[in-house]
């Protein structure tokens, strides 16, 4: 089976670069599955989880906004932020979610509201991605921890 070159970059660093079998990305118009030899496409991203399938393995990232360029032989994801599931600090994400929910309850002015809602969505995505990783961890690995 052919593969497709996938790069994930943020302004601050290159997050990932490898050949993968399939990319599943949170496009602004809905989730996209991208296989090799996909038609050229450029679309914006929304907050969500980005999955890369490679053989039996799957890498999961939490991304928040940005855009993606697809060419037949490569996918470039230019994310505002991108974190691998293993990098996410679950406690911090949880704290961020609570804070955002709390702030929303206080009925902020409109401008703040959009920003807080964005923060809330981001923290929810991060939590979701972090929990997936935990479920995936095999029992013996967890004993070793």
């Amino acid at each position: 089976m052919s593969t497709i070159k996938c790069d994930i970059v943020t302004v601050e660093r290159q997050v990932y670069s490898d050949e993968v079998d399939m990319v599943v990305a949170p496009g602004i118009m809905g989730t996209l599955g991208i296989l090799p030899r996909h038609a050229p496409l450029i679309t914006a991203l929304q907050e969500g989880e980005l999955r890369l399938k490679k053989g039996d393995e799957e890498e999961i990232f939490a991304v928040s906004g940005g855009y993606i360029e697809v060419r037949p032989d490569r996918v470039i994801i230019m994310a505002d932020t991108a974190e691998h599931a293993d990098e996410i600090d679950e406690a911090r994400a949880e704290a961020a979610r609570r804070r955002a929910e709390q702030l929303l309850k206080e009925k902020p002015p409109d401008i703040d509201r959009a920003a807080i809602e964005g923060a809330l969505r981001r923290s929810r995505v991060r939590l979701k991605v972090a929990r997936k990783r935990r479920r995936r961890a095999r029992p013996q690995e967890r004993i070793e921890e």
Partner: protein
Amino acid sequence: MATAREIKRRIRSVENIGQITRAMEAVAASKMKRAQDQVLSTRAYAQKAWEVLTHLASQRVADEAMHPLLQIRPVNNIGLVLITSDRGLCGAFNHNMIRRALEFIEAAEGATVQLITVGRTGRNFMLRLGQPIVAEFSNLPAAPGLTDITPIARVAINGFLNGQFDLVCLAYTDFITTLTQRPAIKRLLPIRPMELGTQAMAEYVEDVRPTPVGEYIYEPDPHTILDEVLPRFTELQVYQAVLESIASEHSARMVAMRNATESAAELVEELTLSFNKARQQAITREIMDIAGGAEAMAQARAAAQ
């Protein structure tokens, strides 16, 4: 001439200063390395963002009329983002940058230049000269993240969009080597996708002509994509300029501190010489006193006999 004790005290204080400047040199060197690494790690994104942009341009999507950030207008008002350091003790770093900015302002005949200052030194200087400042940012963290500079980019973008500026330039110190930094002024807005050389980020990007891959599908439409790409691209350039300036600042400080350390060592040498002279003189004087005293006693003894 100063006494030996006074000189000794001076030697000690000069030595202390030398130790401090040596430590400051080491600190600046490590901070410089960090800023350099940071700016290099933006390279991957810069390259790819530029490729997307040229793609869009080559498809006649990023046309001048397509997005307000690409709009070329007659230049009456210029916004200049002046990046200097918050702190001093870094040689001619700020002075060179400010001088370059003043030359720019002078050369902009007809057009008025309004400043967005980043860093305390530039702000203070321009305030004293009475130059119009529309926004100022200082106390950036030592290793700023993208979110720290977003507000700077926002002021530039909003100013350009609402017609306050027809052209926005970045004035920053370009890090070339540890020993050379060059103040530079480059265009930030409007973005011109076909002219890489005049763009602030030029040195991070290879100007690859896009490989034709046929028609792109734009979801939802090209305009929305440009809306995503262009502001981020602008932020990226401000970010790179800030990091370049930080790397330059630290390397300028490193060199300044190294010179100070060397001067301190020289001074210590000179002082040690005069200390030795003073000591020698004191000893000679004492010996003469003793010898004189002994002589006097010998004469007195001789007279008594």
